[in-house]
Amino acid sequence: MTTAALPPTMATGLRRAHVELLQFVRDRTAMVFTFAFPALLLLLFGTIFSDSYNEPGVTASHVFSASMIAYGILSTAFITMGSGLAMDREDGTLKRLRGTPIAATAYVLGKLLLVLALGVAEVVLLIGVGALVFDMSLPDAAHWLTFAWIFLLSVVACSLLGMAVSTVVKHARTAGAILNVPVVVLQFISGVFIYPPSQLPSWLMGVASIFPVKWMAQGFRYVFLPDGMKAQEVAGQWELGRTALVLGAWCVIGLVLCLVTFRWSERDR
């Protein structure tokens, strides 16, 4: 009997990330829809709305460019992860893997790395549109550092939540529709589509502040807008500390939900 050592989980996770990326890039529809849609909406919103604020040089298109980074992350992390997992469960990918010595951690690591790569590409695209089309100015190094941690916490929280939500998706073809409900609803109440958020009834603002999207969008506005724009936020502050807390909490909630709900196959009837 052989008891040769199994390949390390980190190496297997990297292998998974590699084939996940290959498959994503080769599937043109997923490419176009996941990537182009947030950028398309940004182009539309930025062109249609021309509100101005008490802050010289800031236009609605700059606000949308910053806020829509949250949408880009929702689209690449939450939706890609949620529908990807539902698809893997349906087409036999997970069943196939379950019959091999791969660790579940390696599979999840592969997905997270895929989502991270997609997230970076999406954010580059959105910031590119903001900077090149709408003349949004890019921030200094300190703001980029803030950007980095908000981005990472957002991607991790959204991916884990997408993974958890995928367990209630029965058929992969309905995954997109189901996952888009929280995405669209939260964007309306979290200051992404409707800005400044103080236009909303206060109870709705209260609901939004429970979920991560409001904090993501607000954080990205901190990074890309002048400091004076904080007056437009619900609290009149950027609330970076609270942003870290809420996003961190959602990472933990997401992780716990994943550990509790993850299953390799469709429910064993």
């Binding site: 052989t2 050592a5 199994l6 390949p7 297997t12 087409d91 036999g92 010595p101």
Partner: protein
């Protein structure tokens, strides 16, 4: 030494019992075939042995461990050829096999596996572009790339053309000759007959017969049908042992140019076995 040992296996889906007390023992190095109509419980039984499904009752040992709790080292020692998967369609044959090979401690070389399943010319093709039979060969390749001690084959040759099926049989014989234990489920009786050392027939969640291909269901003891030509017409007689009859025919200088001696085919035996349980 036994590779698979099952006693009193039971499984229900929503109160509907589909496996109703199965006992099974497969020795190391044996090729064992499970036959049975759709819905008889073959796939459920196989999936429990593979660790894909939980059982409701009975004890199961596969390579000395309980598949319900066995870990990754155990999974490295088994190989599974799945039915009905549609994954990795955007990867090429070689990419998919290389990828899965990377999960095992001591995989076969990728090119060797591709050669073994006869896909060398398709190694750079996307799986999406393969025919059904070619996809099944990829499934087989993925099942054997980790050098399993025990291989599960769930209806492996569905969709194969006759030539591909023959090639596949040669592959299975080669694996068996290397000492791989093989559990095969199939609809094709010819396949079971040519590959299996022993086989069992499942109907309605129970094993209704077990034996070698030659003796299953009393087949070895069944009457032989002797047919020959006599004054321009075919004549048939059923006898337990054809020796005497043929000796007599030879002595009578009968026309034996079209002589046949047949026993019930495995298919006849199988159909009467499952027919009795409908």
């Amino acid at each position: 030494m036994t590779a698979i040992e099952v006693t009193g296996l039971r499984k229900s889906y929503r109160g509907n019992e589909v496996v109703r007390g199965i006992d099974l023992a497969v020795a190391r190095g044996e090729v064992f075939a499970l036959l049975g109509p759709n819905g008889a419980g073959k796939t459920t039984t196989t999936e429990i042995l593979e660790g894909h499904r939980r059982r409701n009752g009975g004890t199961v040992r596969v390579l000395g461990e309980d598949p319900g709790t066995a870990g990754r080292h155990w999974r490295a020692r088994i190989g599974i050829v799945l039915q009905d998967t549609d994954d990795a369609v955007d990867l090429t044959v070689a990419e998919t096999i290389r990828h899965v090979a990377g999960f095992y401690p001591d995989p076969r070389p990728v090119d060797e596996v591709i050669e073994l399943v006869g896909l060398t010319e398709k190694r750079r093709s996307r799986i999406r572009s393969l025919s059904g039979g070619q996809r099944r060969r990829v499934d087989v390749a993925l099942g054997i790339v980790g050098r399993p001690e025990l291989l599960f084959l769930d209806e492996p040759t569905t969709g194969f053309d006759p030539q591909a099926r023959r090639q596949f049989w040669d592959l299975i014989r080669a694996l068996a000759a290397e000492g791989t234990t093989i559990l095969l489920t199939t609809h094709y009786l010819e396949e079971a007959e040519t590959l299996a050392d022993r086989l069992a027939v499942i109907a309605e969640g129970r094993i209704v017969a077990e034996g070698t291909p030659a003796t299953l269901g009393g087949r070895g003891a069944a009457a032989a049908k002797v047919t020959w030509r006599e004054s321009g017409a075919m004549r048939t007689e059923q006898v337990a042992d054809p020796t005497e009859l043929i000796r007599k025919l030879v002595a009578e200088d009968a026309d034996l140019s079209l002589l046949t001696v047949t026993r019930p085919t495995l298919e006849d035996t199988y159909l009467s076995l499952i027919g009795a349980h409908r």
